[in-house]
Amino acid sequence: MADLTINTDVAREILTGFIRSEVTRVGYSRAVINLSGGLDSALSLVLAVEALGAENVFALRLPYRTSSPDSLEHAQLLIDQFQVPSETIDISDMADPLIRHDPNISNVRKGNILARMRMIVLYDRTEVFKGLPIGTSNKTEILLGYSTLWGDMASAINPIGDLYKTQVRQLSRALDIPAPIIDKAPSADLWAGQTDEGELGFTYERVDQLLYLLVDQRYSPQECIEEGFDEKFVHTVITRIRRNQFKRMMPPVAKLSNRTVGYDFLYLRDWGT
């Protein structure tokens, strides 16, 4: 078993420093977070609170009519514990007209609509609160592409994108996030009874082990199989990583000129700051 344990003190210091630096250097002092009630957004919230101060972090609860009541409650637990300003906006009335447009709509399409609707509200609230939207995607879901493009992946900065889900859990325990949020089955809560692990077909515990070997330690697929991972599982995961590369990039621009955005017009985002 690979050891994915991290030093949570160091992670905490780096990630809060990252939020503080990247928010303030562009002239902001505040952040907005879509608090789903799940663990990833809970961790992003707590890191942002530590980085910017509770009064400078705005939590949004954006339930849909089928959302689990637990999600709302768990989000409220965090809002109360960390004393952050918040707002609850039911997105049912915004999403339903589009969803009803097609009686045969699939769960996946519906889920994408809800994720993108939440993105619209999040970005709108950033304008009102004068804060930057903080990302909540972890490394496992980024690599597997288990997310909605321009939906839950949309943010200005993402403090937790280099932490596997199991590391998110470890850091969350160190940051006093309430146990019910850490212990519950991860779910996008886009339809009743949905769980990440049920949908993906494997546990985070197991896939994080594999991803760590493949990505961080540069093991070949064959070496992973020799380490005891099922051959089919290895290939499923590798295929997922490859097929979802598009979600991790800006859309490629077709090159015509001598200098093209994305290829040879190269500047960091922090250019001049």
């Binding site: 050891d3 344990t5 991290i6 030093n7 003190d9 160091v10 992670a11 210091e13 780096i14 420093g17 990252f18 630096s21 990247e22 250097r25 280099d162 040879d264 017009f265 190269l266 500047y267 960091l268 985002r269 922090d270 250019w271 001049g272 700051t273």
Partner: protein, 283 residues
């Protein structure tokens, strides 16, 4: 003889030379007020690190008529300075460079000889490779400058040693990476280990000044160190935050250490040369 060394682990504004110069002058004032003899800034301290297409627009020449260096050269009348910058040669090649300034003069400019172009690094795409590793004389004895990847390779410190450097000044813009369950990042542990090793093996003073601050998602970890000729750590800066770290270098320690441990005396350079010639001519 004693040398009061100061290491300024600063954060920089990416591509904003004027603002970074101002910070340099502030730190110079602070170091001066603490009676430092020599102040070292990190790699690319005037410009920031991930410059990419900004390289040409932030380049400066270490001359008296340069709008940036004229201030630094003036300041070097009070204490010696090591400055990180982008150097442009007369044929418009751009180098990652460190300049040693003293008494209003440029004593030495080192061009980085190893440009990491792998993993998260892309220096070889934007910069020309330096082609010299030279020690030079200062009022504190003979000194050598290296920049980051230069000392990930064993040969540049070795060459400086043979060329007479008793004080090696390393500067870095080292992004933190390799978080595991240990208290230190892997990148910090590696650099600290080799700095200590060079001080021990070359019975010399080895100082390292790494920058801090973020550039996008990269965090530079700071953690300046000074090791003495016995390989003992005599000063250490904090991680992740700006700091000015001082160390008093007792230069007489060189004599005491080398009297006990004559590694320099016994180094068989002719043997090295002979074997290198053989190895390199193998075709």
């Amino acid at each position: 003889m004693k040398l009061k060394l100061a290491l300024a682990q600063i954060s920089t504004k990416l591509g904003d030379v004027e603002s970074n110069l101002e910070k340099h002058l502030n730190y110079i004032e602070q170091a001066k007020s603490q009676r430092a003899d020599l102040l070292v800034f990190p790699e690319l301290s005037l410009t920031g690190y991930v410059l990419q297409d900004l390289v040409a627009s932030v380049a400066h020449k270490p001359t008296e008529d340069d709008p940036v260096f004229k201030h630094l050269l003036k300041a070097s009348h009070d204490l010696d300075l090591v400055i990180g910058f982008v150097d442009e040669d007369s044929r418009h090649r751009f180098y990652i460079a460190s300049a040693y300034l003293s008494g209003g003069k440029v004593l030495h400019v080192h061009h980085k000889v190893y440009l990491p172009t792998y993993g998260l690094f892309d220096e070889g795409r934007f910069f020309a490779w330096g082609d010299a590793v030279r020690s030079f004389d200062t009022r504190f004895g003979r000194v050598g400058l290296l920049i980051c990847e230069d000392f990930w390779h064993a040969s540049p410190p070795y060459l400086l040693w043979l060329d007479g450097a008793d004080i090696m000044l390393f500067s870095s813009a080292s992004p933190g990476r390799g978080l595991n369950d240990r208290e230190k990042l892997e990148s910090a542990r590696w650099v600290e280990r080799v700095s200590k090793a060079y001080a021990s093996m070359f019975t010399s003073f080895v100082a390292h000044c790494n920058r801090v601050g973020f550039e996008d998602g990269l965090l530079f970890w700071g953690g300046a160190t000074v090791n003495d000729p016995n390989g003992e750590l005599i000063a250490q800066g904090p991680y992740f935050e700006e700091a000015l770290t001082f160390a008093e270098l007792d230069l007489n320690q060189l004599r005491r250490t080398r009297a006990r441990l004559p590694l320099l005396r016994d180094e068989r350079t002719a043997l090295v040369q002979k074997e290198l010639n053989r190895i390199l001519s193998r075709g």
